[in-house]
Amino acid sequence: MATKSLHKRKSDLANSNRQLEILSNGIFQDGELPTFKAKISETDQFPLKAKKLEILQINVGYMCNQVCEHCHVDAGPDRKEIMTKETMQQCLKVIKNTGAHTLDLTGGAPEMNPNFRWFIEEAAKAGIKDFIVRSNLTIIRANKKYYDLPEFFKKHNVHVVSSMPHWTRGKTDKQRGDGVFDKSIKALQELNAVGYGIPDSNLRLDLVYNPSGAFLPGDQASMEKDFKKALIEDFGIQFHNLFAITNLPISRFLDYLIASENYEDYMYQLVEAYNPAAVANVMCTNTLSISWDGYLYDCDFNQMLELPVNSKVKHISEYNEDLLEGRNIVISQHCYGCTAGAGSSCQGSVA
């Protein structure tokens, strides 16, 4: 398993233009498979347009204590892109006036941003009620300074959404690194101990499942049952919901697909599983993604592909919700990942 990001390895695929070329060439160029634009046009869903903003998703930095095999952010300890306090202050200005009801913090490991706690405290003062922190769990056990994170989350009623690819050690560690499973279990037990994930508790703990290889996620409700049964029986762990998320063919997952000669078959799977009902609810229509340096994107995936919003407003410093509403969403073939089967979003299935 790699211990460095594609960026650090100076891989060809660290270049977003190269990724976009791959996604537009070959089977999509010669017409073997329809482009995403052609596919959504069949059901008159092109262009996709942004609706009313509900979720502000802020990526506070690409640094992470893990180097997961399929990370779409290409995150890792060697990534130095971290949101500054100044950019956070610009975000806070927006938060005070936004109509969005949810603030969704992601990374990397968002907790590794030195101003992470300050930012949450300030955002709470600014009136945000629904916080999501996308935690990799192991960060809670990575260093003493993070041990009290469960208590901090509880104090601010943060909704914790944690990655957990499988209920067995083998499959989890293969995807996320040796020792990740045991640390994740310990972190989940600590979150349970302060009240997270307990039925009827308002301290929400949801898990995210994404497949460990070149296949699509199974039915979210069935997977949730299997996860719940295994985690309670084996470790006494409880959680609220499971979000099944499809791996999008970008960054490290694209690298894996190509290296393992699964790219074409995977794209076929995505296109064959295309579901127009999922298109109606894709997350880019109600979410705005903000990068560590304050630029605006339709989603975290477009952020990684460096596809900025199609709007006069490009940066948080010039934010204008009215101008952003109704903008055309920027698409490419990676978007098939969000419209396959029951659909996929940062909140799980959408159809």
Partner: protein, 111 residues
């Protein structure tokens, strides 16, 4: 015409069998879809049975399809291999139980 009897790409064309016999093809696929729905058995249990039978039938298309299907359902490789052993045990048991027939015949002819 392909130079090989089996081509992985043909699996994607399975649905085309309805083109030459629409009614029977559709009835088959309706039945097939219904069989694999959640019922008294879970869809996961059914997928594992299908994986075992795919091996006893030695159908490369089915092995391809149900390996992927079971992976999608979170089935581990240990569970998959055990399921195949169930199929293998029945296959070998079915061979060996006929040994009794052989023994009966020997005893009759040369007992």
């Amino acid at each position: 015409m392909s130079k090989s009897y089996y081509d992985p790409v043909d699996l994607r064309k399975f649905g085309n069998i309805t083109e030459w016999s629409e009614e029977l093809g559709n009835k088959f696929f309706d039945y097939y879809g219904k069989v694999f729905e959640e019922g008294a058995l879970t869809a996961r249990e059914k997928a594992l049975i299908a994986l075992a039978v795919a091996h006893t039938e030695q159908c490369p298309y089915c092995i391809d399809a149900y390996t992927k299907d079971t992976l999608q359902r979170g089935v581990t490789k240990e569970e998959m291999m055990e399921a195949i052993h169930v199929g293998a045990a029945i296959k070998s048991g079915a061979t060996l139980v006929h040994g009794v027939q052989m023994m009966n015949k020997v005893n009759k002819l040369d007992g």
